[in-house]
């Protein structure tokens, strides 16, 4: 019953958002059924559509998990964007610097670089909060700017192939490429960039779940998030938990770099992230801060991202902005969930939840 209750409100929010979006499309002058047909048709067509949808979901699962872990400790990590950039650059740097090594050595090194890079960038606001009490929202968002600008500088002046007008580094060594799933799954063409990072993302969901709900450390972390004073009283070091949570959060965000650099572009590309870090906040929120919920909501956002392109191209009036409106509406409805909770409770359909 509790799982059902967790699921129903996001579900209502999604359906309501599609309904509102449909009215909007109608007003603009297109047929909503046709537009949604394009959206879902391209997102679920086998193999290209599904391949791309899962590829788009991968970074969102990572950032959704990152936001989730911090949130469970009572922290709002708005810095996933900066952390994923640092992670991506770190992994690219290892891939470029040690390009000659064998894959058995190089790939683990690249993975560790992404995790350490993101983790370090996440730890900074954690330490600042634990030591000096400075607010993590401000610090993480400022660190985003620093990360982006710093990496633009390194890309432009130190790691670009000379004369290349595109802001990207030189390619990483062949040994650092991770396999695309097209190599394993029959019928899935290899040009689809869906790669092993997707599997890694699913594994991370499992690990985060086990960590948070099946270990002592996870319990301490969640206790801190629920009530820091009580946790402190119970002998948990709140400061330590804040640092741990932010580090894990950053490390998860940093793993986006594995998908992007080792699995797709094989180089660091300046500005590659389509606001994954910020969408991650919505993914975690919509997923009720649970790893399973994160997978589901990451898929939903990936469907919108994949389907937005044909909706833009093959309808007469609807542009990609409408898909963004849809995304925004979903978030709005989820955030304003009490709006739905109220009437349902009133009509006795549901007992008022204790959340």
């Amino acid at each position: 019953m509790s799982l059902f209750r967790e699921l129903i409100f996001p579900l209502i929010a999604v359906v309501a958002a599609f309904f509102v979006g449909g009215i909007l499309i109608l007003v603009i002058g297109d047929n909503p059924l046709q537009a949604y047909g394009l959206l879902f048709g391209s997102a679920f067509s086998w193999p290209v559509g599904i391949g791309y949808t899962l590829f788009y979901a991968t970074p969102l699962i990572f950032t959704g998990l990152a936001v989730l872990v911090a949130f469970r400790c009572g922290l709002l990590n708005i810095g996933a964007e900066g952390q994923l950039y640092i992670g991506a650059f770190a992994t690219a740097w290892v891939g470029i610097t040690f390009a000659g090594l064998s894959p058995w050595l190089l790939i683990p090194m690249c993975f560790i670089a992404a995790i350490l890079g993101g983790g370090m960038w996440g730890a900074i606001p954690g330490v600042l909060k634990a030591r000096f009490g400075s607010h993590e929202v401000i610090n993480t968002i400022m660190l985003n700017f620093i990360a982006v600008a710093l990496l633009s500088y390194f890309t432009q002046y130190h790691y670009k192939s000379p004369g290349d007008p595109i802001m990207q580094t030189v390619p990483i060594g062949e040994g650092a490429h991770i396999a695309r799933l097209g190599g394993f799954i029959p019928g899935l063409p290899e040009f689809i960039p869906l790669n092993l990072a997707f599997v890694l993302a699913l594994i991370c969901c499992g690990l985060v779940y086990i960590f948070l709900w099946r270990t002592k450390w996870g319990y301490e972390l969640r206790a801190t998030g629920t009530n820091p004073s009580a946790a402190e009283y119970g002998g948990i070091s709140v400061r330590k938990q804040i640092i741990v949570a932010m580090t894990i959060s950053g490390a998860l965000a940093g793993m986006v770099g594995i998908n992007e650099v080792l699995g797709y572009r094989y180089r660091y590309y300046d500005g590659f992230s389509d606001n994954y870090g910020f969408t991650g906040i919505a993914v975690a929120l919509l997923g009720r801060n649970h790893p399973v919920g994160v997978i589901i909501s990451a898929l939903l956002f990936a469907i919108l991202q994949r389907g937005g392109i044909p909706v833009d191209a093959f309808t007469e009036h609807v542009t990609k902005d409408i898909v963004q409106v849809l995304q925004g509406t979903i978030i709005l409805f989820v955030a304003a969930e009490a709006f739905f909770r109220g009437p349902f409770a009133k009509f006795g359909l549901l007992k008022r939840s204790k959340v």
Binding site: I8, G37, L38, G163, I166, M167, D274, A313, L349
Partner: protein, 356 residues
């Protein structure tokens, strides 16, 4: 129990949505008897009033025989199906191109040099589809590279700038510090030197990242700095950032009905942006190039490789209209026209910064 009912109902709703999606493999029902053209814009989008806008104008002209604003473009409509995508972020460019390729479009146009590696990737997977890249260079057998001799046009506006300046100092405001923009700068310098060997040229760039195309504030700062060093004509090749230089020269005001400082526009005809202050615009006819490549595909004459647009094929020009005809003396134009003929005939060689 009632709550379960609601839940099931919701699931049914969602399911209906998905099914409605899955049954529509026909997508937008394009007329397959016609030539189908897909165009993928740069991050800037089709309303940037400059480079992307010009590509869109050319494609629109091929589709309807009219410019996007509804005026006739003096060329026949080619009876094509035209679809466009504004990717908005770098991750969406590749799937946008593939969206057209998967549906078997006849020609896919990528706008902007940044799309070159992506268009090559997609073109390898679809050898039977024709591609065109504006401003980029590819050697694949199914990709046409639409490039422009920006240095030649810059040479001519450099001459006009040198004829106009009273201080003997002119400015150049570049966007991103890259080879393509150096090409504008060197042509401009050479043209100016051809008129006045002692002229002083002050070159500056807005930045080194993509953001350099979209920072009018910094563009204005740089232009004001150049003016304070004595520059009284400034050539901009900086996309949206260049509009800052327009503000800067307007701020200097007029003396006896004539502006004291001038700016030279770029890509599209920008003479009407600040009439009286814009000496001329170095126009890059991306619209012509896009129209021509579509025409080639319609006529079955598509050729891969370089399509070079210079002064000869109306690919590059300086814009003269009612807004600036008072600003440039007859003889200056006569001189520029002579140089134009000499460049076309090869008598004058303008050095190309990208070929070094």
């Amino acid at each position: 129990m009632k709550s379960y009912l609601v839940f099931v109902l919701l699931l049914v709703c969602l399911f209906a949505l998905f099914v409605s999606g899955c049954n529509r493999e026909d997508y937008g029902a394009d007329d397959k008897s016609k030539i189908r053209v897909g165009i993928v814009f740069d991050i800037g989008g089709k309303d940037d009033r400059s480079f992307n806008a010009a590509a869109w104008a050319g494609a629109r002209c091929a589709e309807t025989g009219k410019w996007p604003d509804g005026k006739s473009c003096d060329k026949p409509a080619l009876g094509i199906v035209l679809r466009d995508i504004e990717p908005g972020n770098p991750t969406s460019i590749e799937p946008a191109m593939r969206a057209f390729a998967e549906r078997g479009y006849d020609l896919i146009v990528g706008v902007g040099f940044a799309q070159t590696p992506i268009i090559e990737l997609v073109a390898r997977d679809y050898p039977n589809i024709r591609f065109a890249i504006v401003d980029g260079v590819s050697s694949l057998p199914n990709v046409a590279s639409l490039v422009f001799k920006e240095h030649e046009g810059s040479y001519l506006v450099g001459m006009l700038a040198a004829r106009t300046t009273r201080t003997g100092t002119i400015g150049f405001l570049g966007g991103m510090d890259i080879g393509l923009i150096h090409r504008f700068k060197e042509g401009y310098e050479e043209g100016a030197r051809a008129v006045n060997p002692n002229i002083r040229v002050i070159p500056n760039y807005v930045g080194v990242t993509d953001a350099a195309w979209n920072n009018p504030g910094k563009g204005k700062e740089i232009a004001l700095a150049q003016i304070s060093k004595g520059a009284d004509v400034i050539f901009t090749a900086a996309g949206n950032s260049g509009l800052g230089a327009f503000d800067a020269v307007e701020q200097q005001g007029m003396l006896n009905g004539r502006a004291t400082h001038f700016v030279i526009g770029v890509d599209s005809n920008q003479n009407m942006v600040k009439p009286g202050f814009v000496l001329t615009s170095m126009v890059k006819r991306v619209d012509n190039a896009v129209y021509e490549i579509i025409k080639d595909v319609v006529n079955g004459q598509f050729k891969a490789g370089f399509h070079v647009y210079g002064l000869d094929k109306d690919g590059i020009a300086y814009a003269m209209d009612e807004n600036n005809k008072e600003l440039i003396p007859e003889e200056a134009i006569k001189q520029a026209e002579e140089a134009r003929k000499k460049i076309i005939s090869g008598e004058i060689k303008v050095s190309d910064a990208m070929m070094k």
